[in-house]
Symmetry: C2
Subunit: 137 residues, 2 copies
């Protein structure tokens, strides 16, 4: 299977990526850009959040574990030297629900990180990824 995207320069540091039916504006902050969209590197973190988030939702549904909300916070350290890469990525999964089955939640997250999430599998070849889980009513 192939994935294809087209990206066009607009002005200064502004680009539009055409991803299937969606146009994603990418930009950077002043003085180089005009902050009209997210900056490129952080899209890696959004990609990771979406990938593992969808896994966890799917797996919790399959395991019949009800939840009311999921927040995923990601923090990453950037190296100082070029090329500036993430030296470490930390994920906090915040799972909301009543009487959550923590064992199943942790199984779902572990399955995503170890087996299913392709974005995590790719990024961790360069950037170690650690995670923790927090529970909320």
């Amino acid at each position: 299977m192939k994935h294809k995207i087209k990206t066009s320069w607009k002005d200064q540091m502004t680009f539009d990526s055409q991803i299937d039916n969606h146009t994603l504006r990418i930009d950077t902050v002043a003085p180089l850009g005009t902050d009209s969209g997210p900056s490129p590197k952080k899209l890696l973190l959004a990609s990771l959040a979406g990938c593992t988030g969808m896994d966890v939702v799917s797996l919790l549904n399959k395991m019949r574990v009800p939840f009311t909300n999921i927040d995923i916070d990601i923090e990453a350290d950037l190296t100082n030297e070029h090329p500036k890469v993430y030296s470490e990525i930390r994920i906090i999964y915040r799972i909301f629900g009543n009487e959550l089955n923590k064992e199943k939640v942790e199984k779902a997250i572990s399955l995503s990180q170890e087996k299913y999430c392709g974005v995590s599998a790719m990024l961790k070849k360069n950037s170690p990824i650690t995670y923790s889980v927090e529970y909320y009513d």
Copy 2:
């Protein structure tokens, strides 16, 4: 330096990532999702396009190489087995301009791929990245 993003589950496979001042909707296609935003993995390719695109614009400006447009097409092959990762990523840089200095354009692209683009440096730890350049008036 640290990068931080927050991502919240909305419904089904829909997530909103808060990236600084920007909210990025992430979703997947039917039957699991509602295609209300790009799918997670392809955001890696948009990240790569934006990163190398900004490098090339900056470097061409510094080199005083005028251009009228830049399109960046990216195609990536996905593995069949979980975790599904990109086994190869191919980039086509389409550079538009009159009497372009091809040597300088190729120097700019090569500097991005070999030295400056952190997204490329990270992704190529897993996925070999190749590129070609095409010129248009």
